[in-house]
């Protein structure tokens, strides 16, 4: 029941966001289409009127169609998995997503796993040892990353490691000279190109995880079952992982989805800075060239991904915490 309710809320949220963007964006595709039509006029020498007709047909936009029917058509399209058409690339948004999404997923998931695990370990270590030099270092590190927007971190990494030291490439997800495939060379190239974006996200987020974990772990350490575990003569390592770690981790699980959302939102800037051809990079292209179709499609995708992430985190949480499971 609780699961169904959560899925329903997720769907309502998605529906709400979709509707909002439809009405916000649908206001103004006119002039972008005009630019496209002009291009056709210039290339093929047909009349502007014919070009407009052609463009509208391709884009699926009829200014005389009532807004409601446009909206219903749009939602139906989405329901069938059709994300729309890109004016800029003159292709379906699905195709663009198909080639861009894997890169974004690769960067975000790697960064999330890295920053979460490093941060959680650091946080646990600080909480466990109480007074270590690590504590003020992490606090200072957290203040710095808290004050530095992720895109500035990315810019600084780019300036140092790509432009000046030339250790890492300035753009791309892999070396175009390498043929994509399941070869060691290609994987190496992908990892090499992914280092800076991953480093930017990881550097930016690790301290926050460490502080969150520290707070959670300190409160868990005050619980009776930790004292009881010591009294039972359990090994230190087991108490740290199974008793403190496992319990301290629980409240952070929902934070994972929030972090994923903000990283996904930041990808527009990060991927643009590193010229990394993921969803964010295409989003920026759509925005810069006012390609509303692409923008709408990518926004829907972003929203859907984040809502899905939240749903997964919610369900994961109920899996991990037996106390929640009972309340269902």
């Amino acid at each position: 029941m609780a699961v169904l309710k959560r899925i329903a809320v997720a769907l309502v949220t998605l529906f709400f966001v979709t509707t909002l963007t439809f009405f916000v964006v649908r206001n103004t595709p006119g002039d972008a289409l005009q630019v496209w039509a002009l291009e056709i006029v210039q290339t093929y020498g047909i009349s502007m009127e014919d070009a407009m007709k052609q463009v509208r047909a391709m884009y699926g936009y009829d200014p005389d169609e009532p807004v409601l029917s446009q909206y219903i058509r749009y939602v139906k399209g989405l329901a069938r998995g059709n994300l729309g058409t890109s004016i800029l690339y003159k292709s379906s948004v699905n195709e663009i997503v198909f080639q861009a999404l894997p890169w974004t997923v690769f960067i975000l998931s790697t960064s999330l796993v890295l920053s979460f695990s490093i941060g959680a370990l650091l946080g646990m270590a600080i909480a466990w040892k109480r007074k270590t030099v690590l504590d003020p270092i992490i606090t200072g590190y957290a203040a710095i990353t808290g004050a530095t927007p992720d895109y500035i971190t990315a810019l600084i990494l780019l300036i140092i490691f790509a432009i000046n030291l030339k250790w890492f490439p300035l753009k791309g997800a892999y070396d175009p000279a390498v043929k994509p495939g399941f070869t060691w060379e290609f994987i190496k190239s992908v990892l090499y190109h992914g280092v800076l974006p991953i480093a930017a996200y990881t550097f930016e987020n690790t301290a926050a995880w460490a502080l969150a974990m520290k707070g959670s772990a300190v409160s868990v350490l005050g619980e009776d079952y930790i004292m009881a575990a010591w009294a039972r003569g359990l090994k230190e390592r087991r108490i740290m992982t199974r008793y403190m770690g496992r319990n301290a981790m629980l409240p952070l699980v929902t934070g994972l989805a929030i972090a994923f959302g903000s990283m996904m939102g930041g990808s527009v800037l990060i991927e643009t800075i590193f010229n990394y051809p993921g969803i964010g990079w295409f989003f920026n292209q759509a925005v810069a060239r006012r390609d509303y179709g692409l923008m709408q499609g990518l926004f829907f995708l972003t929203a859907a991904a984040v809502i899905l992430a939240n749903l997964i985190a919610d369900l994961l949480y109920t899996r991990l915490d037996p106390r929640i499971r009972l309340e269902e």
């Binding site: 432009i163 643009t272 923008m295």
Partner: protein
Amino acid sequence: MTVASIRAESRWRTWYATFLILYRNKRAFVGFLILLAFLLMAIVGPYLVPLDMSARYAERYLPPSWEHPLGTDFVGRDTFALIVHGSRDVLSIAFLAALFTVGIALAVGMVAGLQGGLVDAVLMLLTNTVLTIPKFPVMLVFATVFRVKDPFSLALILSVWAWGGLARAVRSQILSLKEREFIEAARVMGLGLPHIVVRELLPNIMPYVAINFLYIMKDAITASVGLMFLGIIPFSATNWGMMLNLATQQSGAIYIPQGLYYALAPMVAIILFQLGALFFAHGLDEVLNPRLRS
């Protein structure tokens, strides 16, 4: 104790607390000084540091000197003057955005908390949506579609998806305040809802809102500079985000060693301001939330 005396005491306590933080908490004091410096820079700076926007190619990318404390940009303009004049732009946008955000958050949170029932449920669903969907893409879409041309509309766009967290917090504070004696007393005395809201509830959540005002300003700067960096809202050449955009995308200053001073100046300015806001707000938090004190 009368309602009035409790109120007076809580107001007095707020001032006293603010004083205490500055006195006791070194980090908060440093934050306060940084914020004060930026505030002075934004208010009186432009009168003291003249800005000459004309291009002098012979003087491009000069290193720092007495004449140009932060060097010059890609067409020979004084970077320091750009930063000073930009600060007014950046801070006023962030201030306006925080004002709008806090306004929306207070309205939503208080209505939800006071009304309860269906209104509360709907508002909280909306709040959850705002919290779930990352705000930067939303702002990006709004900024693209509505073609922002002035600080006011930019501030609106920055606040339209930024109020979720504060609204939720205000709601829960209202819910707990509602149970407290002095609110009950005011109600028994027949004081109307406007009175209770303005004279009893607002003063009690104000310290909390003030802290969040700083956090929201900080986020608004991150977002507005980010939007400008992408080049979507090019209405001011001196805005730090615009400087970043020019340094990285347009002029290529980051690709040459001489351009580094120019490229780094807006980044350092942003980081410093954010650090000041964080330190000060965190100090306030520590004093007003006994939970955090240790």
